[in-house]
């Protein structure tokens, strides 16, 4: 699934229009009774078959805990993590085999959203308990911790999938993206970049008029969109994509 398929209308949206991302893209608001072990098991089988079809050499290594009789102990949380892992692996295998980064863009968004949401809850709890002693304002400190946790886990996730996020390739975490179009070389550092999409994790709302966002669009990798990822706790429209503005002729 590409970002266009995930966000219908993105391709034709006028320049600068912000397209909200539906919450259920992240499986956050789906009916709880649908999240049964059987549904998840079916998903893992489907995903495994899809990855095998892309590369027959792929196989899944896992250690599943067993009871005293040797029966597998599988929890809903464990199966959910396995589905998420297989989705990410499918995206990584697709990128490496065919050079198509569309699925990896979607999985990066899902991964970052889940991590931002969880880090936000944890940060708020620690701040309320007075256990973070921030030197900045509470809000700045919270945003800072969320950013750092997301970047750290994303690097690890890519690394686990054999993707180098610190080099010159199309997948990068918090790396310099140059803009060589003007007289002086300038640059921006998106929290993440996957091919032609930039991702920014933030608590504050940003638009095309935000200098940082304009700077991303001006970078040499010419992103087709900037995805602003904010914790879902911030309410409706927390996460959205800003498409590249059309150039006037």
């Amino acid at each position: 699934m590409t970002l266009e398929q995930s966000f219908p209308g993105l391709r034709n949206s006028p320049g600068g229009v912000v397209v909200a991302v539906a919450d259920n893209l992240f499986d956050l608001t789906g009916p709880a009774d649908a999240m049964t072990a059987e549904v998840l098991q079916n998903q893992t089988r489907q995903l495994s078959a899809q990855i095998k079809a892309i590369d027959p050499a792929w196989h899944y290594d896992e250690i599943v805990p067993t009871d005293a009789l040797g029966n597998r102990i599988e929890t809903i949380q464990g199966l959910t993590a396995k589905v998420n892992d297989l989705r990410f692996q499918r995206a990584a295998v697709t990128a490496r085999v065919s050079g198509d980064y569309g699925s990896l863009q979607v999985e990066t968004l899902r991964f970052v959203q889940r991590n931002a949401d969880t880090a936000y809850d944890q940060g708020v709890a620690l701040l309320k308990a007075g256990r973070l002693a921030p030197k900045l304002s509470d809000q700045e400190a919270l945003g800072n911790y969320v950013d750092r946790q997301v970047r750290r886990s994303l690097r690890e996730r890519y690394h686990q999938s054999g993707i180098d996020s610190g080099g010159a390739g199309p997948v990068r975490v918090n790396r310099r993206e140059n803009n060589s179009s003007g007289g002086d070389l300038t640059y921006r550092r998106p929290d993440a970049r996957v091919d032609d999409v930039a991702f920014d994790v933030t608590l504050t709302r940003k638009t095309l008029s935000t200098p940082q966002v304009r700077g991303f669009f001006d970078a040499d990798f010419r992103p087709i969109r900037v995805v602003i990822i904010r914790p879902r706790q911030l309410g409706a429209g927390h996460t959205y994509a800003i498409p590249r503005p059309e150039t006037k002729r």
């Binding site: 792929w58 290594d61 993590a81 750092r148 946790q149 750290r152 054999g162 790396r175």
Partner: protein, 131 residues
């Protein structure tokens, strides 16, 4: 015996720069004292793996830190790990003491990064960023 999965790297990711270590510290501050990943994406993450990753990061930037700061950070890491290990239920106050040591590590890294900016020392991309 099956062949290794060509798409899975079992080795832990060791932060390669001062800012990546700073990101790791931010994550550790949030999830002390057990460091268990609540999402289950990293089922092997625990106190041992976290401190292995952290000290591996210090080792990688040892030259940039200088021997004195490197030794200080390694000592802080040993002490912090012991405190977290002694309060895995987060009930006896040692987690906060350990977290205070992580804050100290942040300050040491900040000093080093500020010095590198003052001295205009380039990072691996040729930029004066503090890394």
């Amino acid at each position: 015996m099956s062949r290794p999965n060509p798409y899975f790297n079992p080795k832990p990711y060791i932060p390669a720069t001062l800012s990546e270590i700073n990101d790791l510290l931010g994550s550790m501050i949030l999830y002390a004292p057990t460091f268990v990943d609540p999402l289950g994406d990293f089922p092997n993450r625990n106190i041992d793996s976290e401190f292995h990753t952290l000290t591996g990061g210090f080792e990688g930037v040892r030259k940039k830190l200088g021997e004195e700061r490197y030794a200080s950070l390694m000592d802080l890491a040993v002490r912090a790990k012991a405190l977290f290990a002694a309060d895995q239920d987060d009930t006896n106050g040692k987690t906060d003491e350990g977290r205070a040591l992580l804050f100290e590590m942040e300050d040491v890294l900040k000093d080093v990064r500020n010095r590198r900016v003052r001295e205009e020392l380039p990072d691996d991309e040729g930029e004066v960023s503090g890394d």
